[in-house]
């Protein structure tokens, strides 16, 4: 049972939730709510935006200011909200397809702008909601309904994508390490600027089932076995790291935040200088 502080953040009237029993996304929801409690955040001042997907159904369960937007576009909605009211804490939750396929453009531009939004990418390596089609993070060779003979595409490393695009806080954890998820979400929200926290999730129903990891536990073990802490990864070769999930904090730098720059611009204009 979650602690009562966490329960306060939930719209418990909608339980049981729509996720398959054993879906990895629930672990992320719990870690995120614990992070909110740790930070003593106020639901009326917290916005959670999402796109479309199993992962994106998350805001519906959170008793805050929530937006279940369109597939891939949540960061653009979140950007409008943050821009209109910078005092709000804005968290954006996305699936891997949401973030890096249909929403890839919004993702890189949110990184570039360094707007103070915390993006949590729930990467289960598949399109869960629509029934197991390949996503840009489905591993090479894996089976998906739209790649019945194995995926021939290369997959994205979302953290490196975020780094190249200019995000100023980037980290990765997995559902096998909920404590680390919680800590990284806390740090990401505290960080002033665009934060990306990729959390390796699991979808036994649509990914595992077709790829020899039938049960939730099989998938958890798969993720555990493939996890490599950042420090350890430093001493490993590219070949050794193939198929591994490197975890930890990768980037944490201070850089001017977008809405602060905008308000400085407004102040400058008030002073009469252009």
């Amino acid at each position: 049972m979650p602690n009562p502080e966490v329960l306060k953040w939930l719209r418990t009237q909608f339980f049981p939730h729509m996720w398959c029993p054993g879906c990895g996304h629930g672990v992320i929801l719990h870690a995120m709510l614990r992070a909110f409690v740790d930070l003593d955040m106020k639901p009326e001042e917290t916005v959670i935006a999402s796109g479309i997907g199993c992962s994106s159904r998350m805001p519906g369960y959170i008793n805050a200011c929530t937006v279940h937007s369109t597939h891939g576009r949540s960061l653009a909605y979140a950007t409008g909200i943050k821009m209109a009211r910078p005092e709000l804490t804005v968290v954006d939750v996305m699936g891997d397809g949401d973030c890096s396929a249909i929403g890839g453009n919004h993702f890189i531009h949110a990184c570039r702008r360094n707007i103070d939004i915390t993006a949590i990418v729930m990467n289960n390596n598949i399109y869960g909601m629509t029934g197991g089609q390949a996503s840009p993070t489905t591993p090479h060779g894996a089976i998906a309904t739209t790649a019945p003979y194995g995926v021939i595409d290369s997959s994205f490393d979302l953290c490196r994508l975020a780094e190249g695009a200019g995000a100023t806080f980037i980290a990765r954890s997995t559902i096998a390490n909920p404590k680390q998820c919680e800590k990284l979400i806390v740090d990401g929200i505290k960080h002033k600027g665009f934060s990306v926290i990729e959390i390796i999730s699991s979808c036994h129903t649509q990914f595992g089932r077709r790829n020899k990891f039938r049960t939730p536990i099989d998938n958890l073990n798969r993720i555990k076995d493939a996890s490599v802490p950042f420090a350890k990864a430093q001493g490993m070769s590219k070949e050794e790291l193939a198929g591994k999930y490197v975890t930890g904090e990768f980037v944490n730098i201070q850089s001017p935040e977008y809405t602060e720059q905008y308000s400085r611009l407004v102040d400058r204009l008030k002073g009469g200088s252009r």
Binding site: P43, G60, S69, G80, I81, M83
Partner: protein
Amino acid sequence: MTDVAFWQGNQALAQGALAAGCSFFAGYPITPSTDVMEEMAKELPLRGGKFIQMEDEIASMAATIGGSIAGRKSMTASSGPGISLKQENLGLAYMAEIPLVLVNVMRGGPSTGVPTKISQMDVMQARWGTHGDHGTIAYSPSSVQECFDIAIKAFNAAERYRQPVLILSDEVLGHMREKVVIPPAGSYEIVERKRPCTDKAKFIPYLADPEDDIPAMASFGDGYRWHVTGLTHNDFGFPSAKEDEVEKNIKRLVRKINRFRDDIVEYETLAIDDAEIVVLSFGTVARSSIRAVNEARRRGIKVGHFRPVTLWPFPDKEIYQIAKKSKIIIVPELNCGQMVLEVERAVHGKTKVIGKSLVNGELFTPDEIFKSIQEVA
């Protein structure tokens, strides 16, 4: 003090929006609408409002919705391909009942079409562009003054009826300069969205007032918690696929506009009372038509003009009344025959309707319309 300006249509749209209290604009450049965005980029930061250039039109529409959810009167503007890109998120704004103004400075299509020339090809897209049923409000200005006035009206309608409102301008009007009389602040009506006055814990975000079918809207950050979704939802704003709740949701979206149809519909007539021939046109085309009608009147032809100011809701009842008294209605428009379909529907066979279409990127000259009048006189 009444001020006078000499503005382009696009500038007047932006200035009208500001006069209506618009404090948020998100956009992406595209000809021939870009000047609206550039005017906002210049003006909003000076007034402490928010301006943001987004990565594309999809994002611009989304951010505009975000700005409105967070309580600001919000606008975006685009043309042609950009308007097509906005359609999915526009649908969310209809579904979640988010007030905003979308300006479409029309250019020719389909696809890239003729970016720098006039067209009126988006009449039906304005009504049915996004998937699904909803009521539509779309205004069409025909002078720079009207660009300014309609921007204010569009915001008022968006706030009152809690939904997106479209303005269909065009390339010629957007870039034409005319005198604009700017009414002093306080001399024109400004509508603000209905805010909830209930206890924050008891707030039911989509519980509509039976008086008007419009629920009060709280802003994120005002202490209320609510859920915005593009899924059909119940009064609590939570997703529902229950037959009765789905039906109630969709029917109300359509009804809230239908029931105020008479308040929303606007049109302008000229020499219509004894007219046997009626020219019916909108936007910039109406300027040529009116010139032609005046000329024909001077020559003793009993002709009048009808100009829909709201393309949607379409002034069908009013046109029916005119149809009963006239012999023929000529509908010149810069497309292959879109509004003429609505006119045919509106007249119920009471009079003859003929369309006149031009799609070469040029505007009808008054002479061309005059000839059409002469042909049927």
